[in-house]
């Protein structure tokens, strides 16, 4: 029976070039080079960025929602699910789907950014201990243990 152990974690940081809107860098980290194709990774990040852009979009509908909320002294936030929350659910489903189809078969796991304060996309790299002998990135793990 194979068992997997956490070998390393890669953190995709935020891209602030367009302001404070939620957007992640699409730069391909070197640790993933041997694990996953660049295009797949970039597709995932770009889709996530699009989802966040949709959640934070300011336009006719969001203004209407905002004015309505103000008129009800914002009590409407207590009863209704906001648009942002709806999109977050979609994002969660998307990430789960990506994990199942693409990342898990390659020994990777994406953590939803909302779990990390929307600061990073954390990608955990697993090492199949049963099959391979060497473990990569053990230095970073020992670095965190040394704290």
């Amino acid at each position: 029976m194979h068992s997997a152990s956490l070998a390393n974690k890669v953190f995709i940081q935020r891209d602030y070039s367009e302001g404070t809107t939620c957007k992640f860098q699409t730069k391909f980290p070197s640790e993933l080079e041997s694990r996953i194709e660049r295009t797949l990774f970039e597709d995932t990040v770009k889709t996530l960025n699009n989802y966040y852009a949709e959640a934070e979009k300011i336009g006719g509908q969001s203004y209407l929602e905002g004015c309505l909320a103000c008129a009800t002294a914002y009590l409407i936030f207590l009863c209704m699910e906001t648009r942002y929350e709806k999109v977050l659910k979609k994002i969660a489903k998307y990430i789960q789907e990506q994990n199942e189809k693409i990342y898990a078969p390659r020994g990777l796991l994406i953590t939803d950014p909302i779990e990390r304060g929307m600061r990073v996309i954390e990608i955990s790299i697993y090492e199949d201990r049963g099959s391979s002998g060497s473990s990569s990135g053990s230095s970073s793990v020992s670095g965190s243990t040394a704290r």
Partner: protein, 463 residues
């Protein structure tokens, strides 16, 4: 930073490592079934906040003068309805108590929402994240005192912005984020810490705050006008003002309170309307971040260059979610699984929409359908796996460096005493002096290391 405020979770030291599965029966029966009640995240929240209603309500540690604010509003409005309304309804119109009532309800609701809403607190970095950031920064190796401050420069809309490293939260603060020492949290789009509402004003509750001060200025002006009319009507016919005041003593109290408040509140509303129209925060305005006073050509990179769009994006934009999962459950030590970054919140999906994702990911790991990623837990206590547990609990991050964060707080307090120079608070035009004085510390807080580290190279970009 007293330890009694919260308890650290040390998965290796928990006394009863029972092999029971993570609590799924969760919600209400958790107190009865397990010997150790699974705790929610708000109970171990590292910041200086207090929680009520099982984590639904969040306030700052010191409620400031929130009771005074509420008291003043309730007393003044109460006196208005008791003393002035009957007379004015008889002599003028019955719309007056209706308008007053609507304004009063608006004011109280928005005040409570400002005080009890999470202002946009950023959870602290997980140990892995902090380690990753440390790796990217060149550490000079001086561990005897606090290392020199770290900054990172980013380009936002062609404007160079310096991101500062927060030693307490162990991360580079996103733009417009500031660390509030009173609450000991990094708050997104930090405006100021308002003692009158007893909470920070940040990204998530700025619109509540703005609505509160605008409706309060309307209410104060309305009551002031009504009381003046009331007294004028009573004093008609040669009876005199003293006679009118004797007949309606409550009006005298209201007159005094409203007279002194209306100017400052109107001024504050005006100031914040200016801030909203230019998409600035009080913090940025006080520090003069985008005013170009240093001679450089700086513009506000966040402004949409259009007053209407600025107003709409600040006040009517989408409501961001709370990033601190207050009501989530803490991981139990036994789910000390290998990949368990998300095992931490076992059944949260039923409780909070934010955790829908974790349920799915946990299901993925536990389904064991994928041979290479089997997460059979290794309870032999491998050092790596044991340390993945603290990842999930943000509370643990403050544990490794209690001295450091205590140092933060102590230094902030020290600098706040020293930096009480009034040079900057004149910008906050008609704010009361108490509020202005309390704003000064925030500017000092926002430059956490300038009083402490003397080297001029402290602001040199590292990237």
């Amino acid at each position: 930073m007293k330890n009694c405020e919260y308890q650290q979770i040390d998965p290796q030291a928990l006394p009863t490592p029972t092999p029971t599965p993570p609590p799924h029966h969760g919600n209400d029966s958790d107190k009865k079934e397990e010997p150790k009640r699974p705790r929610r995240k708000w109970e171990v929240f590292p910041g200086k906040n207090r929680f009520y209603c099982e984590g639904r309500i969040i306030v700052a540690r010191q409620s400031g003068v929130l009771p005074l604010t509420l008291g003043l509003i309730l007393v003044t409005s109460g006196l208005f309805f008791i003393f002035d309304c009957p007379f004015l309804v008889k002599h003028l119109t019955s719309c007056i108590p209706v308008i007053g009532g609507v304004l009063f309800v608006f004011v109280v609701i928005t005040l409570l929402q400002t005080s009890f809403t999470d202002p946009g607190i950023l959870p602290r970095a997980t140990p892995d994240e902090a380690a990753d950031i440390e790796k990217q920064i060149d550490n000079t190796g001086n561990t005897s005192y606090r290392p020199p401050p770290r900054t990172k420069e980013v380009l936002i809309n062609q404007q160079v912005v310096k991101l500062k490293y927060c030693f307490t939260c162990k991360m580079f603060r996103p733009p417009r984020t500031s660390h509030c020492s009173l609450c000991d949290n990094c708050v997104e789009r930090f405006d100021h810490h308002c003692p009158w509402v007893g909470n920070c004003v940040g990204k998530r509750n700025y619109r509540f705050f703005y609505t509160f001060i605008v409706s309060l200025s309307f209410l104060t002006a309305f009551i002031f006008g009504c009381v003046t009319t009331h007294l004028a009507l009573r004093a008609q016919g040669g009876k005199g003002l003293v006679f009118a005041l004797q007949e309606s003593p409550g009006s005298a109290v209201e007159l005094v309170i409203c007279f002194f408040s209306v100017w400052s509140i109107l001024g504050l509303s005006g100031f914040h309307t200016y801030l909203v129209a230019s998409n600035l925060t009080t913090n940025e305005d006080i520090k003069g971040s985008w005013s170009g006073k240093s001679g450089e050509d700086v513009t506000n990179p966040y402004s949409h260059k259009n007053i209407f769009i600025n107003c709409c994006s600040v006040l009517c934009g989408p409501m961001p979610p709370s990033l601190i999962d207050r009501r989530g459950f803490l991981p139990t030590d036994d789910s000390a699984q290998t990949g368990g970054t998300d095992i931490e919140v076992p059944t949260l999906a039923t409780k909070s929409e934010i955790n829908v994702c974790t349920q799915g990911t946990k299901g993925l790991l536990e389904s064991a359908t994928l041979p290479p990623l089997l997460s059979t837990s290794c309870p032999q206590g491998k050092p790596q796996t044991a340390h993945t547990c603290p990842d999930s609990s943000p509370a643990v991050n403050s544990d490794p460096s209690p001295e450091l964060s205590m140092g933060c707080g102590a230094r902030h307090a020290a600098s706040s005493q020293g930096d009480a120079s009034p040079s900057r608070h004149t910008k906050a035009c008609s704010k009361k002096s108490k509020r202005a004085a309390l704003h000064i510390p925030n500017t000092a807080f926002d430059i956490p290391v300038s009083p402490t580290s003397p080297d001029a190279a402290s602001f040199a970009p590292l990237h």
